[in-house]
């Protein structure tokens, strides 16, 4: 085969492979939405789930997912922010920094099931938290931290050094320079990272099966006492999330309309994640514009 023929063949192959991948994505999203959206109704979103009867909804699972996500962000964002600042600003160029960076890489590549099992071992069993939203949030934090930290570090490093020097040369402390000057400039990047990580956490199940548990007890949505066992805000109650619910429906198979509920739940999950994805772009751009007064560049 001469050079020109192979060029043509290769180009054709590359284009068709790309076509297949794009079709694959459309198929995946289309399949979920086409099969799922017909099941989504107000009733489906607002009624409790049923184990042995048809017609259950996903009210509690949906709420649990959101609550868990919020708790996770409350725990993980500050830690990631501190760590990101450390890596970008304070980390000396030495062995310890290298070790820490390695540790973050290791953490980011650990299978989520291992992270979940660690959470189970330490918090559910050793500390006696039991299956609870809090334990789940902690496990998701472990899962979230490395990516979030790296994202924050990169966003901070993207801010030109000149800004930092400007702050320092005015006699402002390194910390205040970081917090008041560098972080605001890094905010679009950081926020995009946080939203994307939220999307990931929202769909995560493997780390949650043995931490936040697989049951969704009936809770009282008008009880705001977070220490009360029946309160929807109690962080110490077990809480099955939407993703875990889908998994459970399809592995235990005692619910008669498991298939329909899975379809509906999957569609809800995908829609939420698409929104997160879209939100990350929109908000990132909006903040960027606001900070720079409409100047791109």
């Amino acid at each position: 085969m001469n050079a020109k023929t192979s060029n043509k063949v290769a180009t054709a192959v590359i284009y068709s492979f790309v076509g297949i991948v794009v079709l694959l994505l459309f198929f995946l999203i289309g399949y979920i939405l086409v099969n799922g959206i017909p099941y989504i109704s107000w009733h489906f979103l607002t009624s409790p789930s049923q184990s042995f009867l048809a017609g259950g909804g996903i009210r509690d699972q949906l709420f649990n997912s959101i609550y868990l996500l919020i708790l996770t962000l409350i725990i993980s964002v500050p830690i990631a922010l501190g760590s990101g600042i450390y890596l970008a600003e304070y980390a000396p160029d030495n062995v310890i920094t290298k070790l820490i960076k390695t540790a973050i890489e290791v953490l980011s590549s650990l299978p989520s099931v291992v992270v979940g099992l660690f959470g189970y071992l330490l918090f559910v069993i050793k500390f006696g938290f039991g299956f609870s939203i809090l334990t789940g949030a902690i496990a998701l934090t472990f899962f979230n931290l490395p990516l979030l930290t790296r994202n924050i570090e990169e966003s901070i490093n993207d801010v030109p050094d000149l800004q930092r020097e400007a702050g320092l040369s005015l006699g402002i402390s390194r910390w205040r320079t970081m917090v008041k000057i560098v972080l605001p400039s890094a905010l679009p990047g950081i926020l995009t990272g946080i939203i994307l990580s939220a999307g990931r956490a929202f769909g995560e199940a493997a780390a949650l099966i043995y931490t936040s548990g697989q049951s969704a007890p009936i809770v009282n949505y008008s009880n705001f006492n977070i220490f009360s066992q029946s309160s929807f805000l109690n962080p110490m109650r077990p809480a099955e999330t939407l993703a875990v619910h889908i998994w459970k429906l399809n592995t235990e198979g005692v619910t008669p309309d498991a298939h329909s509920i899975s379809n509906g739940s999957s569609a809800v999950l995908i829609i939420v994640i698409l929104l997160f994805n879209l939100g990350a772009r929109v908000i990132g751009n909006a903040i960027y514009r606001k900070i720079t007064s409409g100047r791109r560049g």
Binding site: T11, E105, V113, A205
Partner: protein, 313 residues
């Protein structure tokens, strides 16, 4: 004048702010450090219990093919041969990487060499969306589309390594693709010009130059993809069949380390022998994850050596 002199020698608000800031950031990074160490410590110590407390031989664990930690065999020894799971885990990992790599490279090449800015951006969003889809959904689609399809074509249950491979293929495709894109983007733009000016076709430039220069990066991408495949639990668990037996072929039911773990942990009591055996599987997962990490580091360093030479001139 003396006032300024005094100020110069006094600790100020700024100094205090800095100490606080330093403390906060050191504290946060310490949390991460301690976390990683404790994960490794706890999983390792749990995972080793079976060997030390229950005196199972490592060779039995790694090489025997019967997994039935709840009962004893005819010699009164527990049956904890993890080989079926190890083989299955490696099979789905390697097969899915083999399947995904050409697609990933094709998409990456399209994005870096063929598409204009808009096309590349569009494909970038496709990749990001694929990353964003949760693994249970991949598992669910695998269960409701891939498994019946395989059943239809090959008969049997449809569950097995083939179904797992297909699901993992889609899951690791975006990982490998985006890292490959990074490594191809790192190949200096003017290499392409030089190659074309020497009379190379586009494909010759890609094949003989760009892919060659980008090889360490692409290898890293593939290893990352494999690491993800090896550690993926739920999606695989939903389509593999979950039978801890040696897979006979690609369409017979099997079980990976992760699927055995997810199904098993809930059905055993902590501290029992059956439970300890499961933690040993978790340890294998941990070790493999560390191994993949090391591999990435080694390959990455090889690439770095090349780059360093580049910078020297």
């Amino acid at each position: 004048m003396n006032n300024i002199k005094k100020e110069l020698n006094m600790a100020s608000k700024e100094t205090r702010q800095d100490s606080i800031g330093r403390f906060i950031s050191y504290f946060c990074i310490t949390i991460i450090g301690v976390l990683v160490i404790s994960i490794i410590y706890f999983i390792t110590s749990r995972g080793l219990t079976m060997f030390f407390a229950n005196h199972v031989k490592l060779s039995d664990f790694l090489l025997k093919t019967t997994w039935n930690p709840g009962t004893l065999d005819s010699h009164g020894k527990p049956e904890v041969g993890a080989l079926p799971m190890i083989v299955t885990s490696f099979s789905v990992t390697i097969l899915s990487a083999i399947l995904a790599t050409p697609f990933a490279i094709a998409v990456a090449l399209f994005m870096t060499e063929y598409a204009d800015k808009r096309g590349a951006k569009l494909l970038q969003s496709v990749i990001e969306l694929l990353v964003g889809i949760p693994s249970v959904i991949y598992g669910y689609i695998g269960l409701s589309v891939v498994v019946p399809m395989i059943r239809h074509i090959y008969g049997g249950t449809g569950f097995g390594i083939l179904a797992g491979t297909i699901v993992l293929f889609v899951m690791i495709l975006p990982t490998i693709t985006s890292l490959t894109v990074d490594s191809l983007r790192a190949v200096p733009q003017h290499y392409r010009q030089v190659s074309l000016s020497l009379g190379a076709t586009k494909w010759q430039t890609i094949y003989k130059l760009i892919l060659r220069v980008g090889t360490p990066g692409i290898l890293t991408a593939i290893i990352f993809g494999m690491a993800r495949a090896f550690g993926e639990a739920l999606a695989v668990q939903m389509v593999i069949g979950n039978a801890a037996i040696m897979p006979k072929n690609l369409v017979s039911v099997a079980s990976t380390l992760t699927s055995q773990l997810t199904t098993g942990i809930g059905n055993t009591v902590l501290g029992t022998f059956a439970n300890n055996a499961l933690w040993s599987l978790a340890l294998v997962l941990l070790i493999m994850s560390l191994l993949f990490n090391t591999l990435v580091r080694i390959v990455g360093n090889k690439g770095a050596v090349k780059n360093e030479r580049k910078n020297k001139q």
